[in-house]
Symmetry: D2
Subunit: 87 residues, 4 copies
């Protein structure tokens, strides 16, 4: 993985902490909108992690792909990823 | 919370398990695209949880809001939530 | 429609003007990324129009729904709309 | 532009026709939710156009970038595009 490992781990652990908090809110039957906001905050955090990973991947793996064949493989992976993002 | 508690807890625990898996992938320096796909799968799961929570909220809290004042409050909360979703 | 008519018409006409511009760019075989950015700008504009329309709908039609039956109908419409947005 | 020109023009002209229809709906004060659905349908169409353009761009311009410098430029453009999409 090309992204900054510590930063990625830190963001993911924050997301996991938020998820534990959401589980608690559901157990305690908290108000729907309050839970929804926490879920969206965790989604936004994961979205940021994905952006960091794909950015580092583009600058690393894609840009340094040595052969035409390797480049072709990387491009097809990006197309599949883009399809998921833009679906 | 109006959504089905067990179903919501089950979806959230699945998301948490996926998050633990992603942390492990990052620790093990796995391939960027594989990690990205897992992050997007977890985002999709949280998106589903949010949908369940907001749907039950609409059918419960919003629809059964007794007074005009209560309805007004619920509507403003929905507008703020929609702003986040559509930003 | 409850949203400000002039404002909504103005935003939509701007989007249509952008769309004409994009058609021209494609005819002229302009660079992919330049076209992509214009398409995303037009999507963002339509997203804003949708937000204005749904916000005014919530404050108008939903909040002022007189009968329980009417409220129920409005809630089901919102759920269907939310499903599309959050899919 | 690398994407199929006729297909792209056809999709864009369909979107433009939908936009004209939405303008008419607003002029005629049609129901909010009906207008919202048409706006979202047009957004989905533009989203598909963007996907076609970026897919062809990846397979064309990015994959065939001859020099390291050219590849670097293409990668930075993709990162900026991804930032907009994932914002």
């Amino acid at each position: 993985m090309m992204a900054d490992k510590n930063k990625t781990l830190r963001l993911l652990k924050t997301a996991r902490g938020q998820l534990d908090g959401i589980l608690k809110m559901v157990e305690e039957d908290r108000y729907c909108i309050d839970i929804s906001q926490q879920v969206m905050a965790t989604e936004a955090l994961l979205n940021r992690v994905n952006r960091e990973i794909l950015t580092a991947h583009l600058r690393g793996c894609v840009q340094q792909a040595a052969t035409a064949e390797d480049r072709g493989e990387k491009v097809e992976e990006l197309i599949a990823t883009l399809d998921k993002i833009l679906k």
